[in-house]
Amino acid sequence: MKVPKYLLLLTLMLLCQTSQPVAAASNSTSVKIAITPQPLEITSTTVPKFSGRIHTDQTQTLVSRQPLTIKVNDQRTRQTNPWMLRYQISAFKNGTHSLGNEVHLKIGPGLLTTSAPADYQAQSLNLLPGQTQELVQAQTQPDTSEYQVAADAITLEIPANAQAGQYQALQTITLLDVPNV
């Protein structure tokens, strides 16, 4: 029996109605992601550097050859909380050998430089390895600030009988947004 062509065509049309895209008048959405400036961030730091001849029979104090400089970018425009820097130093190690926990890192008070006058409280630190202390607390206008401790205000006390060598320690600086209470 011969099937009429129009029946075949009709059957094909019905089959095609399943899961078929149909006309769309408006069919797109724009997606936009804005990368906004970090409202409060550390933009750069330097580390103190020490060198000297270690005397094995007495404690020695080394003076840094480089200042400690920390730049803070504060773009918080909706509130006026102070910000705070905290400082931590790890143990000084030469490979697997450590100078131990009797190393004292002393950091004198620094100066905060901003484009507008700012209130700040700079602290003197006397740190043992692993300790964290407050370095400075400041209340600034939205601006980039620079906190600097002069090289000669940073000293390192090495215990007696220390083994000579090249030692390294990790400096960790934490920036905190301090809520007003």
């Binding site: 769309a24 008048a25 992601i33 804005a34």
Partner: protein, 184 residues
């Protein structure tokens, strides 16, 4: 003609004596009747299914992070809906979404998007996983049907850390309205 005349007088009096006019008009009414008018909306013989509109803009905002991986919740501008017109209630449909090239662009380059999800669907997905609107059931599946946008989120990466503060990434989601079944 007489009634018309009375009404005309009453109307003229109304401007001065309000209640008198009503009484005169009531006197001319000799009976009331009512005719109920029904308008029945039934399924059309045709099967019009139209994607009328979709949201104009999905916005996201973030600060930079050093991991290069971002997962963000977004906002739908003016709470716009996905709007479908359907004149046949037993006609099932879905709307699927697809982000062009599965990526976003900025002046610094192209950034791969791993998920762009809302309404339980993902514009990065395929098949059933990228469905972001589905027909309701029964009579509500007719006329103009709006679907809200919920749980809008995106995950993308910047593995080389090339994004900068102030950058804007843009992309386009395209929608397809699918006629899933048409039993008629």
């Amino acid at each position: 003609m007489k009634a018309t005349k009375l009404f005309g007088l009453g109307l003229a009096s109304l401007m001065v004596f309000g209640f008198t006019a009503s009484n005169v008009h009531a006197a001319g009414v000799v009976g009331t009747d009512a005719t109920t008018t029904n308008v029945t909306i039934k399924d059309a013989d045709t099967a019009n299914l139209i994607l009328k509109s979709t949201p104009s803009l999905f916005s996201f905002e973030t600060s930079l992070n050093d991991t290069g991986s971002y997962t963000l919740a977004g906002t739908n501008k003016d709470n716009e809906q996905i709007v479908v017109y359907n004149d046949k209630s037993d006609q099932s449909w879905t709307v699927s979404a697809a982000l062009t090239d599965n990526s976003l662009t900025a002046t610094s380059g192209t950034y791969t998007v791993s998920t762009l999800s809302f309404n339980g669907g993902d514009a990065i997905g395929t098949g059933a996983s990228n469905v972001v609107a589905t027909n309701p059931t029964g009579a509500t599946n007719s006329g103009t049907i709006g679907t809200d946008i919920e749980d809008l989120s995106i995950t993308f990466s910047d593995p080389n850390g090339t994004l900068k503060s102030g950058d804007t990434l843009t992309g386009t989601i395209n929608y397809t309205l699918n006629n899933v079944t048409d039993p008629a």
